[in-house]
C-alpha cells in the first residue's frame, strides 16, 4: 500500500467514524415528531411528562414491575384474556393502572377486570363555560372529598381535557373523581345541538386488590400541549410520584417503540450496556487509543526516502 493511498484511507476512515458519531448523537438526542414520543417537544409528544418522571415503554403487560404505574393510553386494539390477567395481577399486587382512553378500546379491559366503568366513546362532551379555550376543550372539576379515598386527587381542582367522552359508572366500587360542570353537554354529531346535559363523569377510580385503577376518558391530557393546563401536572404527578411509570405500547398499531428511531436507540442502549461492563470498557478505550494512533499522521512518513538510481 503506497503512502498516498494510506493517507487517503486514514482520512476516509476518520470521516466515517466522525460521521457515525454524529449519526448516533442525532438519533439519540435530536427531537423527533413521533406522536406520544418522549423525545417529541411538539404538541403531541410527552417530553414534558417523561422529563419529570421516569417513563418507560413496555410491550409486555406481564413484565411491568410490581408497585409501578402502568399507563394504558390511546389503545387502538382490544385487550386479550392474557392482557387482562396481567393487568389484574399488577393491580392485585398493589400497582396502579391509569387508563386514558376515549376511543372505547379500553372497555374490553375494563369489562375483563370486572370494573363498573365504561367509556361511552360514541359521545364527546363540550362545556361552554368551564373550558380552557373553547367548548371542545372542557375543564373537568375534581369532586369534593374524593382525595380522602384517593390521595392522587389531593391539591387538584381541575383537569384540562380534549373532547372527552362520558364515563358510565355502574359498579359499587367505582368512584367519580372528576366531572364536567352542570353546564356541559353532549351534542349530536351531525346537528351539533345539545342532546344530553351534564355533569358527566370523566375520571373515575376503583380499588382492585391492593391496587388502584384510574380511568380518564381522554387520551390527550398527558401531552405537552395540555400538561401545563389547569392542574394536569399536579394530577399526573400525584399518580406518578415515587413510582416508575410504564406506558403500554402493545396496543398501538405502530408506536414510538416501533419507529426506526426507537429501535436504533434500543440497539445503541444495548451496545452501550455491553461495552460498559468490565473488562469491555477498558478494551474499548484501548481500541480507541489504537485507532487514534493509526489514524494520526506519522512524522516519519511525511518524507520519502530519496529515489535510488535503480528506480529509474
Amino acid at each position: 500500500l503506497s503512502i498516498r493511498t494510506a493517507n487517503v484511507a486514514r482520512a476516509l476512515a476518520a470521516a466515517v467514524i466522525f460521521g457515525l458519531a454524529i449519526f448516533g448523537i442525532l438519533v439519540v438526542y435530536a427531537p423527533d415528531s413521533v406522536a406520544l414520543s418522549p423525545n417529541n417537544y411538539g404538541w403531541n409528544g410527552i417530553h414534558e411528562v417523561s422529563s419529570a418522571y421516569a417513563v418507560n415503554f413496555t410491550t409486555s403487560l406481564s413484565s411491568v414491575p410490581p408497585g409501578s404505574v402502568l399507563v394504558i393510553m390511546q389503545p387502538s386494539a382490544n385487550f386479550s384474556a392474557q392482557d387482562i390477567a396481567a393487568v389484574r395481577a399488577h393491580l392485585e399486587k398493589g400497582g396502579t393502572v391509569l387508563v386514558a382512553d376515549k376511543s372505547g378500546f379500553a372497555n374490553s379491559l375494563l369489562q375483563g377486570l370486572g370494573s363498573g366503568v365504561t367509556v361511552e366513546s360514541q359521545d364527546s362532551i363540550q362545556d361552554p363555560i368551564y373550558n380552557w379555550k373553547a367548548s371542545t376543550l372542557p375543564t373537568a372539576l375534581i369532586q369534593r372529598g374524593v382525595a380522602q379515598g384517593f390521595p392522587f386527587a389531593k391539591n387538584v381542582s381541575g383537569i384540562a381535557l380534549n373532547l372527552p367522552s362520558p364515563l358510565l359508572l355502574q359498579g359499587r366500587n367505582s368512584t367519580a373523581i372528576a366531572a364536567t360542570s352542570q353546564l356541559s353537554y353532549v351534542a349530536d354529531a351531525t346537528s351539533k345541538t345539545q342532546i344530553v346535559k351534564g355533569p358527566f363523569t370523566v375520571a373515575a377510580a376503583e380499588r382492585v386488590g391492593k391496587g388502584t385503577l384510574v380511568v380518564v376518558s381522554d387520551s390527550q391530557f398527558l401531552l405537552n400541549s395540555e400538561w401545563r393546563i389547569a392542574d394536569n401536572a399536579a394530577f399526573i404527578g400525584n399518580i406518578f410520584a415515587n413510582s416508575s411509570v410504564y406506558i403500554d405500547a402493545s396496543h398501538w398499531s405502530s408506536s414510538p417503540l416501533t419507529s426506526s428511531t426507537a429501535q436504533l436507540k434500543a440497539e445503541f442502549g444495548q451496545a452501550y450496556a455491553v461495552i460498559s461492563a468490565i473488562p469491555m470498557r477498558y478494551l474499548v478505550t484501548l481500541s480507541f487509543v489504537v485507532v487514534a494512533l493509526l489514524l494520526m499522521p506519522g512524522r516519519e512518513r511525511t518524507r520519502r526516502r530519496p529515489h535510488s538510481p535503480n528506480e529509474r
Binding site: 454524529i22 404538541w43 379555550k133 376543550l137
Partner: protein, 628 residues
C-alpha cells in the same frame, strides 16, 4: 492533477460526514402514519368566549343558593378559576363572585342558627335561643346586603359588558325568596323570646375561678312593680348552677358556686318561671360575661425510668385546686418530644397518657410536660418530669483487602450489638470514588464491591463506613478504615513520559554529540563526478550521481569558479540558493534556482517527473554559457 486528487479526497470526507448527519437527522424526525394517534391539536382550536354561558353559570349558582344547595354553590364559586371568560369581564365577575360567596355563607349560617334557636326555644334553653337568634338575624341581614350588591351594581356592570343578565333572573328570584324567608323567621323568633317580666341581674365581679364563687344581684319587675318570692334560676353556659329568691321588693342577691368550667368565658343568665297568681308570664334576664381563671390549680406528674427508642411508657399525675380539691373531667395536655396527647382527668382528678419514645430520638434526657389545658389562657398550671433515652451501642468492623485500580475489590465487615449480629442494617461506604450502599444479612455481615478509580495514583485512601441499624434503639456507628491499592498507571505513565521525552530530545539533536556524525549531502556528493562530464568518463571508477543531483553539483562548481563561492557542508539546498542569489545579482540565478529545486524535489517530493531532468539539463547548459 495532484490538486484535483486532493479535492476528490476532501469531497469524499465531507460527503461522508454530511451523509451521516442527513441520515441521522432523517431518522430522528421520522413520522409515523397518522392513523397511529388520532389526536386533536389544541392550537387548531380558535379561542372562544360565551357570555351567555357565563349568565347560565350565575343562574345555576343562584339557583343552588336559593334552593339550599349551599355546598354546590360553594363548589361553583370555588372552581371559578377554570371558567373561560374574557379579561374585560374578569374584574366584574370576581366582585360578583365575592358577593355571591358572602350571600351563600350568610344564608347557610343564618338558616342553621335559626333552626338551632327554634330547637333551643322548644327545650326552654332561653340563653342559647336568645344568642342564636341574635346571630341568625345579623347573618340574614348580611345575606340581604350581599344579594342587593349582586342585584344592583354587579348586574348593572354585567349588563354594560353585554352579559345577558336576564338569563339569571330565575336564579336571582329564588335566592331573594330565601333571604326574605330568613328575615321573616328572624322576626318571628325575636318576638317569641320577649315576655312581660323585667329581670335584671348584675355582679361586682368580672372574673371567676373555675369551680369558684360569684356574687350576683338583681331585681324582678312586672309592669314597673317589684315581684317578691319568685325563684330566679341561674345558668352558666347553659348549665344550671343555683337559684336566688327575690325579696318583697323584687330584689335578689347572693353568692353562688359555679361548676368547674374549662372554657375561657362564662355567660350567666337568670330565668323566672310563669306565675299567673302574680301576673308573671315568665322571662329571662340580661347576660353577664365573666372571664374564667385557672390559676388556682396544681398539677403533678410522676417520674418514669429510662427507655429505648420506640418503647412506650405511661406518664401519670393528678390535677387539683391549690386547696387540694380534684378537678374532674378537666382537659390535660401531655407533651413529649413534640408529640402532644390530650387526656381528661377522672373524677379524682387523676390523668394518664401512653407515650412512645420516637425512633429518631438520640441519647439524652427529655422532658414530659403535663399542662392543665382549658380553653383559656389565664394561669392554667403545668409541670414536667424527665425521661432518659438511651441506645444500644453498635460495633462495626470493616475489612478492606488490597486492591488494584480499575478493578473491583470486595470490602467486607460485620455489624453487631450486644454480641449479636445486626440484620438489615444499612451500610454506607463513602470512598473517594463514590458512595456505595448495602444491607447486612441475617448474621450482620455485609460485602460491598468497590472499584478504585484508574485516576487514583495514591497507594492508600481513607474510606468511611457507616452502619445505620433498622432498629431505632440501636445506635448508628461510623468507622474510618484505609483501603490500600496499586495503580499500574503509576509505572506506565512515567515510562511513556520518559520514552516521549527521550524521543523528542533525540529529534532536537540533544544526543548528537554522542553519535557518529552522519554524512551530509555535500559529503555524499564528494567523490562523484558530474554527470555526463568527459572527466567522469575518463575517471572510469567514479560513481555517477543521479542526473538531478549531478546537475546541481555541477552548477555549484560553476558558481565556485565564477564568483568564488564557498558552499559549506552544513548548508541546505535553500541556503545554497540564497548564497547564489546574493553573489550573481540576477545573472544566471533563475537557472541555478530551478536546478537546485529540481534536486530538492528529486530528494524529498512524493512524486518526481522525469521531464524535469531535461529542463535542468537545459538550465545547466545556459548556466555554463553565462558563467564560463
Amino acid at each position: 492533477v495532484k490538486r484535483s486528487r486532493q479535492l476528490v479526497v476532501e469531497s469524499a470526507v465531507i460527503a461522508s460526514v454530511l451523509v451521516m448527519i442527513t441520515l441521522g437527522g432523517s431518522i430522528a424526525t421520522t413520522h409515523l402514519p397518522p392513523s397511529f394517534a388520532n389526536l386533536q391539536n389544541p392550537a387548531s382550536v380558535t379561542k372562544h368566549y360565551d357570555l351567555g354561558a357565563l349568565a347560565q353559570y350565575y343562574n345555576a349558582t343562584l339557583t343552588d343558593i336559593g334552593t339550599g344547595s349551599y355546598p354546590n354553590a360553594s363548589f361553583m364559586l370555588d372552581t371559578f378559576s377554570f371558567v373561560n371568560i374574557p379579561a374585560s369581564v374578569n374584574q366584574t365577575a370576581l366582585k360578583a363572585n365575592a358577593d355571591l360567596a358572602a350571600l351563600n355563607s350568610s344564608i347557610a349560617s343564618a338558616s342553621t342558627n335559626l333552626t338551632r334557636a327554634q330547637s333551643a326555644l322548644d327545650s326552654r334553653d332561653y340563653v342559647n335561643a336568645t344568642s342564636l337568634t341574635e346571630t341568625a338575624c345579623q347573618q340574614a341581614k348580611s345575606a340581604n346586603s350581599s344579594l342587593s350588591a349582586f342585584q344592583g351594581p354587579d348586574t348593572a356592570k354585567f349588563h354594560a359588558l353585554s352579559v345577558p343578565t336576564v338569563s339569571y333572573a330565575k336564579g336571582r328570584a329564588l335566592a331573594a325568596g330565601e333571604v326574605s324567608s330568613l328575615l321573616s323567621a328572624c322576626d318571628r323568633l325575636t318576638s317569641l323570646l320577649k315576655g312581660n317580666a323585667l329581670l335584671v341581674i348584675s355582679s361586682p365581679q368580672r372574673t371567676i375561678q373555675t369551680g369558684g364563687t360569684v356574687v350576683l344581684n338583681g331585681s324582678l319587675e312586672v309592669n314597673g312593680t317589684g315581684v317578691g318570692g319568685q325563684d330566679a334560676v341561674f345558668f352558666v353556659n347553659g348549665t344550671r348552677f343555683g337559684s336566688l329568691v327575690t325579696d318583697s321588693a323584687g330584689d335578689l342577691g347572693g353568692t353562688l358556686t359555679i361548676p368547674f368550667l374549662y372554657k375561657p368565658v362564662a355567660i350567666i343568665q337568670a330565668i323566672v318561671g310563669r306565675n299567673t297568681t302574680v301576673g308573671l308570664d315568665g322571662g329571662y334576664s340580661n347576660l353577664l360575661n365573666f372571664t374564667i381563671l385557672f390559676n388556682q390549680t396544681s398539677i403533678v406528674v410522676g417520674d418514669p425510668p429510662a427507655y429505648l427508642p420506640t418503647q412506650s411508657f405511661h406518664a401519670s399525675g393528678n390535677l387539683t385546686t391549690i386547696s387540694g380539691v380534684p378537678l374532674p373531667n378537666a382537659p390535660v395536655d401531655v407533651t413529649f418530644l413534640g408529640e402532644s396527647v390530650m387526656t381528661t382527668t377522672n373524677t379524682q382528678g387523676e390523668f394518664g397518657a401512653r407515650l412512645t419514645v420516637p425512633a429518631n430520638a438520640t441519647d439524652g434526657t427529655y422532658y414530659v410536660y403535663a399542662a392543665f389545658a382549658p380553653q383559656g389562657a389565664f394561669g392554667p398550671s403545668f409541670n414536667f418530669t424527665s425521661v432518659k433515652v438511651v441506645h444500644l451501642p453498635l460495633t462495626l468492623t470493616v475489612s478492606a483487602p488490597f486492591a488494584y485500580a480499575g478493578f473491583p475489590t470486595d470490602v467486607t465487615g460485620t455489624a453487631t450489638a450486644n454480641g449479636t449480629g445486626v440484620a438489615g442494617a444499612h451500610v454506607t461506604l463513602d470512598t473517594p470514588w463514590g458512595t456505595y450502599g448495602t444491607v447486612t444479612d441475617g448474621s450482620g455481615r455485609f460485602k460491598v464491591a468497590v472499584t478504585v478509580s484508574p485516576t487514583s495514583f495514591a497507594f492508600a485512601a481513607p474510606i468511611k463506613a457507616t452502619a445505620a441499624p433498622s432498629e431505632p434503639y440501636i445506635a448508628a456507628e461510623t468507622v474510618h478504615p484505609s483501603l490500600h491499592f496499586l495503580n499500574i498507571l503509576v509505572a506506565i505513565l512515567p515510562a511513556v513520559l520518559l520514552v516521549t521525552v527521550t524521543y523528542e530530545a533525540d529529534k532536537l539533536g540533544a544526543f548528537e554529540r554522542f553519535k557518529r556524525p552522519r554524512p551530509r549531502l555535500d559529503k555524499t556528493l564528494e567523490g562523484y563526478a558530474p554527470y555526463g562530464t568527459v572527466a567522469a568518463k575518463a575517471a572510469g571508477g567514479a560513481t555517477t550521481l543521479p542526473e538531478p543531483l549531478a546537475a546541481f553539483r555541477e552548477a555549484q562548481l560553476l558558481g565556485v569558479a565564477k564568483y568564488g563561492l564557498h558552499f559549506k557542508p552544513s548548508q541546505t539546498i535553500r541556503e545554497a540558493i540564497a548564497v547564489v542569489e546574493m553573489a550573481s545579482k540576477g545573472n544566471g540565478f533563475e537557472e541555478f534556482r530551478r536546478i537546485a529545486m529540481t534536486a530538492e524535489d528529486y530528494l524529498y517530493a512524493p512524486e518526481f517527473e522525469r521531464s524535469r531532468i531535461d529542463l535542468a539539463t537545459r538550465d545547466l547548459d545556459s548556466l555554463k554559457r553565462y558563467w564560463s
